[in-house]
Symmetry: C2
Subunit: 204 residues, 2 copies
């Protein structure tokens, strides 16, 4: 029901093609709304039919033509009215956490590796957010920006995305430590009271 408004909100930054939006939905919007390109194309058609956005074909040489979309007055109003409704609670779907929940009966090393990969992703996202932030601030410090910027919304959602990824990193670090500590424990005594680990100095 509200991919619709996520698209309208994205178009506040200016006109965009379906392809552009697909990229935006992969970067800055992804912190709070996910959508595949196919969803976007379908929804853009509907929004254009409903008059909330206007489509314009841009002919290009050496590239396929593209349809670029702009918010209409009606679209702006609809988005404005949406901000006054009651938001539903956050819906999260995270397979890594399902796997983590089941790590004790599953493949600890594989989960460990997935956590590390997630951390790499988080670092990459943070770097992109940092660049986005610099661009928004445009040389001003945060206080000046907050006081003066015409639009604060994009900065507020960026903040949330950043803290989400920072939290992913911190959590991942802690998970790695814990899994490793427990691995030591269970490797050192593979069976309840079988052989002791070899005493130091004899390993050769």
């Amino acid at each position: 029901m509200s991919l619709k408004y996520a698209i309208l909100a994205a178009l506040l930054e200016g006109e965009a093609s379906g392809y552009d939006l697909a990229k935006v939905f992969d970067v800055s919007v992804a912190n709070f709304w996910s959508a595949t390109p196919q969803q976007l194309y379908r929804e853009l058609d509907r929004l254009a039919e409903g008059g909330l956005i206007a489509a314009r074909v841009v002919e290009q040489q050496r590239r396929p033509n593209k349809r670029v979309f702009t918010l209409t007055e009606a679209g702006r109003d609809a988005l404005g009215a949406f901000t006054a409704e009651a938001p539903r609670p956050t819906a999260i779907r995270d397979e890594l956490l399902v796997m983590t929940r089941a790590v004790d009966i599953g493949d600890r090393d594989a989960v460990r590796a997935s956590v590390e990969e997630r951390m790499e992703w988080a670092r990459a996202k943070l770097a992109r957010y940092e660049r986005l932030r610099e661009r928004l601030l445009a040389g001003r410090d945060e206080a000046a920006f907050i006081a003066a910027a015409e639009r604060i919304g994009p900065y507020l959602t960026l903040m949330r995305g950043r803290s989400f990824e920072e939290e992913n990193l911190r959590w991942g670090q802690r998970v790695l430590e814990i899994l490793d500590r427990r691995a030591e424990g269970s490797d050192a005594r593979p069976a309840a009271d079988a052989e002791e680990p070899a005493p130091p100095g004899r390993a050769g």
Copy 2:
């Protein structure tokens, strides 16, 4: 595709009815997977058909009979195998953040109120998480628990849920400050040099 595994993971805590799971999915699982009761009933039927869970009817007096489900060996194995796959990236859908993104052209006071409500929710969730944590620790301190607990998965996902809600609180606090600071500024000079368009009012 993996509501399936979210359910199997939830059944690691022991047998449960559809109704029980609906409650679990509203509390501890909600941090990383959301599902409506109807989804659960449908998926439970499928899992039982596929032999990944076993259903047993418990007859009750003064209450409708219930079907309780248990993980089968096959279900355990499927869940274990799942932990070795590559998780897809987190999918988040948060209407409040869509509204926040659009706050500049929308209803600032309504968004402010929604942020406050979200913070109240976060506090309530944190309280429930804290009780859950106490139950898991069962008197031990964290280090002892981590070293000794049979299953660490539920604790790790609980940690993530907790930090998510803490982050919601911190973010919400900052958003309130920023919106208020900007409200002061714009109330002092209500229009640049013409009337502002009236923001669309909260419908109710």
